[in-house]
Structure formats: C-alpha cells, structure tokens
C-alpha cells in the first residue's frame, strides 16, 4: 500500500494504532472518495487517454484476459488518468479491489468494504464480488512495479499533506520513465509544502544529472548536494569521474565527497544501532541464565527450552486472541513469565534440588531435560514452526534518511531488554526477596541461621530465572522462528555472554551482551556474517585468558568456589 504514510505517522503509540486500524482507515477511504468527487467538480484534466467507460477498448481488453489484459493494463497505467473515475479505478486496482465483468457488457467495478461492486464513475451498485461474470484483476509484481509511480503521482494530488509527502518519498524507489519525470516536474509548483517540493526537486535533479546541457547538470549537482540516497550517489559518481565540463566535474566531486562523509557517519551510527539491537537480544537470552547459572551455579542446559516455552506461550495467546495481536503480546509477557517460571520451579523441586553442590551433574541432568522438552514440543506443537505475527505498531521502521533507519520491533526489544534488566537489578538489590536470594547464594548456612527458608528461596530463584527466560522467549518470537529448536540456537551464545561478563554479575552480562553485539555488527560488513562470528568467539576465548573470571569478576568469598 503505497498510500500509507509509513514514515512519519508510524512513530506513535500502539493504542493510537489500534484506533487507527478501527477508525481511521475506513475514514481515509471515505475522505479519498469524497476528494475525488470534489476534484471532479473543480479540476478536470484534459482527457488524453481513452476513458474506462463500459465497453471501451481498454475495458474490453481487460475483460478478455491473458496477454490482451496485460497489454491494456500497461497502457492504461502509463497514461495520466483521464478523469476522476479513472483515478478511482487505478486506486482500486492498487488495493486489489478492481473487478472486471468478463462477459458482455465489459465493464469495471470497484469493490467496497461491504462487498458491493460499484461503478467507478457513477457509484451505482453493479452487484457483489461473488456474482458470476465478475473477475478480480489480480495484481502481480510486474503490474505493481508499473502501478507504483502512477499511484504516487495520484497521491501527490491528495488532500492530506502527509500522504503527499509520503508519495514524494516513495517516488525515490519507483521506476520512473522520462515521461513520469516530466509529469513530476510539472507538478512541483502546484504543491503547497516547500518540504515536499524540495524532495521532488531533488528527485528531478537526480535525473537531470545526465542532461546534455552543462548548466543544467551543474544546477542539478547543487540540487542533490545533500541527498544521501544511494541512487544519487550512483549517478554522481560517473560525473565526478569523467564529466567533460571541468566545473561540473569539480562540483560533482565535492558534492560526492561531502555526501560520502555524511554517509560514513550515518553508517557508523547505523552499525552501532544494529549492534546494540543484536546485543539486546543476547542480553535478553542471557539474563535468565545469569540468575540460574550466575547466581545459583546451576549449569542450566534447559535454559533455551525455557525461552522456547515463552515463545510458544506467545503463539498460544495469539491463537486465542487472533484479532487482538497487541493485547495478546502484552498478555504474553506475564503469561510467559508465569508458565516458564512454574516449569522452572517444578524442575528445581523435582530435580535440581537433589543436585546442589554437584554443579557439573546439573549439566547432565538439565541436558537430558532439554532433550525431553524439545521432543515434547515436537509432539505437542508439531515439529513445524509456528507463526507469530507482529502487531501493527511493531511493523515498519523509522527512517531518518536513506542510510539510517531503526526498525520498530528491534527498537521495542532493545527498550524491553533494558527494562527487564533494570527490573531484575532492582529486585535483586532493593527487595527483601532479592536480599534473600543473595544471602542464600553467598552463605547458605548463615542465611538459614537467620531464618531464611533456603529451599523455598532456591525454588523461587530458579523460577525467577526461568520466568525471565520465558519473557525473553516472547521477544525472540517476534524476530525469529517459534519452533522446537528455538532454544538450541541461543544456548551457546547465552553461556558465552554470562561467562564473559563474569558469573554472578548482572552488569557484566549487560556489558558482555552489548559488547558482543556491537563488535559482531562492526565486523560483519568486512568479514561477512560467518567469519565475524568466528572472530568474536576467538576474541571471547582470548579475553577469558586475560580475565579468567570474566570481565567483572565477583569478589569475595563466594567467588572462590
């Protein structure tokens, strides 16, 4: 949907989006239709193309199907719309709502929300989309690509300024023929907002970089001097290399250099954001382990499966509330915490408590457990992956410029991971329960002597660690597969983060997770994804040699064990 102003208005709260979904979208449609009517009254462009009246050549060809239809579609789209009805039909085509009556009389019908087909010109009801004779004109990529600049141009005349601006931005990635460039150029003066005008000016300037007239080229170079779009760079490069006119050449070179400098800065920030985002995923997946392994000393190989449980909880909730994705997601956070936490408590009471003081045997037992949990997931949920949908507010990205963008789901996960981290820190450092956890971890007998029920604290601590792993699973469900292998993919990384940070040190986990993430993302462009990971692993090994107890070793008596 080209007309959705994804860039600006996406940056809003989830609630607003829910509202938007419920109210604004149909409203927008209504608005658009009424605007078409308005336009019909005020401004009638000269009829160049043949209209899409019933029985016209275009419509007959569309009704025919096959090659005739594709040809007719091409011709129809390329011409500027003859009248408002034509524009309405194009919009309908773009939204997969245009139908054609394949038997005589050949005519077009626009499907409305109520399932009624209406004539694009008169608005008269022609029937419903399921009636015989009517066939939807299916879109495919070939048509979508052709349609895109046409719809953008229509949207440039839309009453909503945001729609117009979005259309201007979208034109940068549309495939433009010289005819379209001319149409755009003619349209610029009619636009109200200088911002949108400037945007389109840059677009046109980009095309004029190849103009035979050196004066035009020079002006065009000045016009694109602060555009970061890679396409402009690709067009500037040959000019800076070998433009016959030395002034143009020098100007192009200067412009290209200045653009390149800015691109480098933005690219750096982009890598940093990518790295922090990867780091936040590592942090989330390691943070539960920092409790079960870091604080309790259980080498918990089933940690990954706790995340898997959290991810499946998300899926189940989405299945239960198929029409309330956001609500399901927010419910999934506490639900995953409780489900994974309860499983964790059950594991502690049923298994781990027999193994305290034998940390390496917890490795074997939890390894066995993880095999069983995985297979259980295969039997219960089938070995296939399950689809967890992103709620609307997490889709899309906030693009500051063509080089720097932050995707919403990653941003929310980054924020979420920090929230979880600080909540946990607060719990451990400021609450009575946290005090008890630390007391039992440091000196069990003394804690017992002071009246702490150590068995109970153990169970709850393990439950807490597992619950947090479950919460991490909710986040993972939003970026990767929900399936039986989910935990396996993160377990090695999780241990690496906890150990690198220093067992038992939450801040260490934070630094290690973010550090590995950022390092990885800065290496990736040079070394490739595989080698980057290998290099990071080798570096982790070397760092451990330097700091055998992790980056932030636990001090004091507890550390001696």
């Amino acid at each position: 949907m080209n007309t959705q102003p994804t860039v600006l208005s996406n940056f809003s709260l989830p609630l607003q989006w829910t509202l938007r979904l419920l109210l604004q979208w149909p409203l927008q449609w209504l608005l658009r239709l009424s605007w078409l009517v308005l336009m019909a009254l005020l401004f009638l462009p000269p009829a160049q193309a043949e209209s899409i009246a019933p029985g016209s050549a275009t419509v007959s060809a569309l009704a025919e199907g096959g090659m005739a239809r594709s040809q007719a579609l091409n011709d129809w789209i390329e011409q500027p719309p003859a009248d408002p009805a034509d524009a309405a039909a194009l919009h309908a085509l773009n939204h997969d709502r245009l139908f054609v009556h394949t038997t005589a009389p050949a005519r077009l019908g626009v499907e409305h929300a109520d399932g009624q087909l209406r004539d694009p010109a008169s608005g008269a009801v022609l029937g419903t989309s399921t009636d015989t004779g009517w066939e939807k004109i299916r879109l495919n990529n070939a048509i979508r690509i052709k349609l895109r600049p046409r719809i953008d141009l229509l949207d440039l005349r839309a009453p909503d300024a945001a729609v117009r601006h979005a259309a201007a931005e979208d034109l940068f990635s549309a495939r433009l023929t010289p005819a379209y460039v001319q149409e755009i150029k003619a349209l610029i003066p009619t636009l109200a907002e200088p911002e949108t005008q400037a945007k389109l000016g840059q677009l046109v300037a980009g095309f004029e970089l190849n103009d035979p007239n050196p004066q035009v080229r020079l002006a065009a170079v000045a016009g694109v001097a602060d555009v970061l779009d890679p396409e402009i760079r690709a067009r500037l490069a040959p000019l800076a290399e070998n433009d016959p006119d030395p002034t143009v050449k020098a100007a192009a070179k200067a412009a290209l250099d200045s653009i390149q400098r800015r691109v480098d800065v933005w690219q750096f920030s982009q890598n940093l954001v990518f790295g922090l985002s990867l780091g936040s995923v590592l942090l989330l997946s390691a943070i539960g382990l920092a409790i079960t392994f870091g604080v309790m000393g259980v080498i918990n190989m089933a940690h990954g499966e706790m995340m898997m449980i959290g991810a499946y909880t998300t899926w189940v909730l989405q299945q239960l509330l198929p029409n309330h994705l956001s609500a399901a997601l927010f419910l999934a956070i506490p639900a995953a915490f409780v489900v994974a936490g309860l499983v964790g408590i059950a594991i502690e009471r049923g298994l781990i408590r027999f193994l305290y003081g034998r940390p390496l045997e917890t490795l074997l037992a939890t390894f066995g457990l993880s095999l069983m949990l995985q297979q259980a997931a295969r039997l219960i949920f089938s070995p296939l992956n399950r689809a967890v949908a992103l709620p609307e507010f997490m889709q899309g990205s906030w693009a500051l410029n063509p080089v720097f963008a932050i995707t919403f789901n990653r941003m929310y996960i980054l924020i979420f991971s920090l929230l979880v981290f600080f909540a946990l820190l607060l719990l451990l450092k400021r609450s009575t329960f946290g005090l008890r956890i630390r007391a039992v971890a440091q000196n069990r007998q003394m804690a017992r002597a002071c009246g702490v029920r150590s068995g109970w604290v153990d169970a709850l601590t393990f439950g807490l660690g597992s619950g947090i792993a479950g919460v991490a699973g909710v986040a993972l469900a939003l970026i990767t597969n929900v399936g039986p292998n989910l935990g396996q993919n993160y377990i090695v990384d999780s241990f690496m983060v906890v150990v690198l940070g220093g067992v038992g040190n939450l801040w260490g986990t934070l630094v290690a997770g973010m550090g590995i993430g950022v390092l990885n993302k800065f290496l990736e462009p040079y070394a490739g994804a595989v080698l980057a990971k290998v290099v990071v692993l080798v570096l982790v090994i070397l760092v451990i040699q330097k700091r055998p107890r992790g980056l932030f070793p636990q001090k004091g008596r507890a550390a001696e064990e």
């Binding site: 396409e231 760079r233 967890v388 992103l390």
Partner: protein
Amino acid sequence: MNDKTQPVVLPQNGISRRDFMKTVGGASLALGLGIKGALDPALAAETGPIKVGILHSLSGTMAISESTLKDNMLMLIAEQNAKGGVLGRKLEPVVVDPASNWPLFAEKARELLSKDKVAAIFGCWTSVSRKSVLPVVEELNGLLFYPVQFEGEESSRNIFYTGAAPNQQAIPAVDYLMNDLGITRWVLAGTDYVYPRTTNKILEAYLKQKGVKDEDIMINYTPFGQSDWQSIVAQIKQFGSAGKPTAVVSTINGDANVPFYRELANQGIKSQDIPVVAFSVGEQELSGMDTKPLAGQLAAWNYFESIKTPENEAFIANWKKFKKDPKAVTNDPMEAEYIAFHMWVKAVEKAKSTDTNKILESIIGVEVPNLTGGMAKMLPNHYITKPVYIGEIKPDGQFDVVWKSKGEVPGEAWSKYLPGSKDLIADWTPPINCGAYNTVTKKCTGSGG
C-alpha cells in the same frame, strides 16, 4: 591376546566375579540383539509384505522439514495398501529416525538395507545426508529415492532424484525476473552450504552469459540459522537502490527465512521494490511465518498447493484427512515423493519383482502423472521431467502462479554452466551406463556401472 581369555584371580576389593558376569552377560545380550536381524528367515519375504524404508529425521534441526515427509510416505503406503498393495503383497513401512545426524543417516540406511531388507528407501533432505547414504546404497545395492530440490552434480546408479535440479528451478526463475520484471541487478543470497553455492555458481555463470556485469551481482552467504539480518538487509537495500531494478535470488535455508523476511518487511522492502525469489520457501515454511508482510514475494517450485487439478485436490484432501488437521498444507517435496513412490510402484509392477537390478532397468522411462498436470518421466540420468512454476506469495500463505514453463523440463544431472561439469552427462542405460560420462574424452569418471 591369549592372556585375556585366561581366568584371572579377582582382587579382594574390586568387583566380585558374579557381579561382573552380569556385565558381560549384559554385553553379550546387547550383541545378541545386534545380530537378531540375521536370524530372521530372510527367504520367507517372497510372500510376506514388502518392506519400504523411510529415512527422514524426526528429531534435531531437520525434523521441521523432514517429519512431514515421513507422514507423507505413511499416507502413500496406506493408500497403496488400500488398493491391494503391490504385486498382491502389502507394503510395510519401516520408520527410523536418523536424528539430523549425518553419520547416523549412513548407519540407519545400512540397518534398513541389511537388517530390515527393505526393497527401497525413501528419504533424506539435505545433500549432506544423501552424500552420507550414497556409499551405503551403492555398496549394498539398495534403492534410494530422494525427493528434495538440490544442486545436482551427482548421479548414482542406486539413487533416483525426483526433486528439481538447478535447471528445473533456478534458471527459469531468473529468466522470469529478467524478462517479466526487467531486473538488471542481482543479489544472490544463500546459506553457506553446497546447494546455494552451486546454484549461485550456476546462476552467476548464466547471468554473465546474459551480459550482466560483475558490479551488478552481489553474492552473500550466511551461516545456518542466521537470525540477525539487520546488516545484510541494509546492505541489500543499499545495493538495490542504485537506480537499477534489483532482485534477490534467495537460497536461504529453512530456519533463517523467518527472521530474513521479517527484517525485509520491517526495513520497508516490498516485493515491488526488490522482489525476492526463493527456492527453499514453500507452503510448509510459510505456515510457520506471518505471511501478510510477505505478500508478492516469489518462489519457484515444481508444485504449488494452489494449482487446481482433480489429482491435486484429492491429494490435498487425503493429506488433511490423514493428518486430521484441516490446516495441514502440502508442498513440493511431498509431490516429489509422491511421484517417486508411484514410479517405484510402477517399476516393481513392470519388473514383477522388488529386486534392485530389475527395478534399475524397468524404472527408466516410467511415467506417472504430476499432481499439477502433465507427466513425470524417469530419465536415464535418474532425474525426472518436471513442470516449473513461479508463484507469488498470497497473504494466506498460498501461492498465486504467475508463470509456468511450457511443458516439462528434463532434469540435468550436470550443469553446463559449471566449468568442471560442462562436458559431463549421466546415462544409466547401455552402452554408457555411467553417472559421470565425459562426452569429450568418452570416458566414465566417478562411479560407473
């Protein structure tokens, strides 16, 4: 060695002899189980059921893809038995779990052939599992039907490849992008293993032959299960916005696809910006993804569930009934296995025997109907003819066919676009009888017949 068989005086504080006898007894019991296959009256098999081996991973990383094929085989065998079996004998499936562990594939294949004496094995998904099984089926003269699209470059006397070779999937897809969508700039993105490597090598050679320049081809490999696609998608986006129509040809494998497509959607790359054509994303993979943001992206296969033919509709209905799941989907490897199974049945009936050598002869030229229309024919190189379809993903996770090959394309064992294999052909009929026959030197390299 003699020393060890002599009785030795047991020490005082060690393990008592009687206890130890238990261990030894246990060990020999274990070994006894190991050879129980040999005790079976092997010759009674002529009248008993015909055993069919199913070698698909039910646990481990590949279970996600392969477990469906196990159920598929069970359904096909049940259907055949309902029709009276083969040669008047019932078919008996033997299911084993090679657990996504490649050496275990070889071990299980050996077990199926030498212990269970199966007449044929249907199985494997990854190339490495097939490569692991290959020496075993050749040594024991078994039959393996391999139902997954793969890189080609192999033809074994004992293996039949019913999935697509690169010329039945990759090349038509690139042609479509070039001709119908006007693509001039290419990203070849794949998981770093042999199928993407080979496919990309073939495509690279093919594109260059079509006049695409080096700087208009970007090749990227990622590890298995890659889950963080931020940088790579950003790179693709940069590469694709240089003013030339760009497409991604994706040989990204299984699990890595969900985060890949998710990142594409989130970074705002739509099918009309940079279309992605995938060779490993089918209905089953889509059932595990949120497909709405994927609408319009492409896949090339030899079968789509959405293609309406009476055979296909019956197959889909049976599958849903068999799985007791109205949402169960079918996919390309299932059809490939369906074809493989029916070809084997026909070959057995033609040879009137399940003997491997007789089937190797009778199966060449056997034709069975595709589920989507037309006939699949077993070629002398052990590949089959297949129709090629390109589909666009619909929001409901099914495909809209946007292109179809004219008739069936015969599978090529050896790609003519790779310098190492351009002179090679495979032909398992006399007089050549060779899996890798060099047409220039007139010599059979590799494993000959």
